[in-house]
């Protein structure tokens, strides 16, 4: 957003705002983080020696709905950014609430799935599938949780008298980048864990 960098003090070389550039480079770093987690999962895919195997306990319909929920949260997020950019604060707040709710629902599905796996005897130490699955989806879940906190603080910030200030569009847009990235990572994880068989 070139606008944010117009005051003389922050004249930038490329005309982009530092905070957005920081988010994009951070997302590049996160690609490597989730890339390593996914590689470990792929290396151990089908190598579990004991205990419940993925084929037996993965519930595709349930996770497909939670994937759909996260996908829709991306749509509400982009509409919230649209609202912030075009000054339609009602739309922005509404969509922020929507994204937060969808995000929490997704987390709810995940907590349920983790507990269900616990009941059928799959936990961290059971086998290779348990270890890699819980670590990968767990870290993704943590990122979704942090995203929900991030969006909630934006929502609360927009409730204040001064709202999110003149850089509102930038704050919401940067939060949107983070949220979309977390959704995109889930798209990859969903395909590799649930859709591709052993």
């Amino acid at each position: 957003m070139a606008a944010a960098a117009h005051d003389a003090g922050h004249q930038t070389s490329l005309g982009v705002d530092n905070r957005k550039l920081l988010m994009w480079i951070f997302l590049a770093s996160e690609c490597l983080f989730f890339g390593t987690l996914i590689s470990t999962y792929l290396i151990f895919k089908g190598q579990s020696l004991v205990g419940p195997f993925p084929g037996d306990i993965l519930d595709i319909p349930l996770t497909s709905t939670s994937t759909f929920v996260l996908l829709m949260s991306s749509v509400t997020m982009v509409l919230a950014v649209y609202g912030a950019q075009h000054g339609r604060l009602g739309l922005m707040r509404g969509m922020l609430v929507g994204t937060i709710l969808l995000g929490t629902t997704f987390l709810g599905f995940q907590v349920y799935e983790f507990r269900h796996f616990g009941h059928v005897g799959l936990n961290l130490g059971t086998n290779q599938f348990g270890a890699t699955f819980f670590l990968m989806t767990g870290f993704h879940g943590v990122h979704v949780g942090v995203g929900v906190l991030y969006l909630t603080s934006l929502l609360l910030g927009s409730m204040r008298r001064s709202g999110l200030g003149k850089e509102r569009a930038l704050w919401v847009d940067t939060a949107g980048l983070y949220w979309h990235f977390v959704d995109v990572v889930w798209i990859v994880i969903f395909t590799i864990v649930y859709l591709i068989p052993e």
Partner: protein, 122 residues
Amino acid sequence: MSHEASAGHGHEEHPPTTIRQYVLIGIILAVITAVELVVSYYPPGSLEIPLLLGLSAVKFGIVAALFMHLKFEHKIMTRMFLIGIVLAASLMIAVFALFTHDDTDNRVLPDREAITAGAGGH
């Protein structure tokens, strides 16, 4: 849709996509997910994995280009993200190849046959 967000020229510059277009993109993504599910339930033989990976790559591209406005941002953003994506993808392929390479596969999994034979696993 092709105008370039040039360096700070006054009023705020944002992508021209409208709300209806965003919702439409959302629907397309949902449809692709549905197609993926169908492919997963009725796997077309060896085509399954490339198809599934291809579809998720398409979704990845759509979200990155249109929802994350990469298409309208300064090209430095795309370059930064591409560095991460390309490096992560190539390292994943390299490490995966190293672990499943035939003549290095001297990994001896302890009493694997006995257990998996019993549990009817992979």
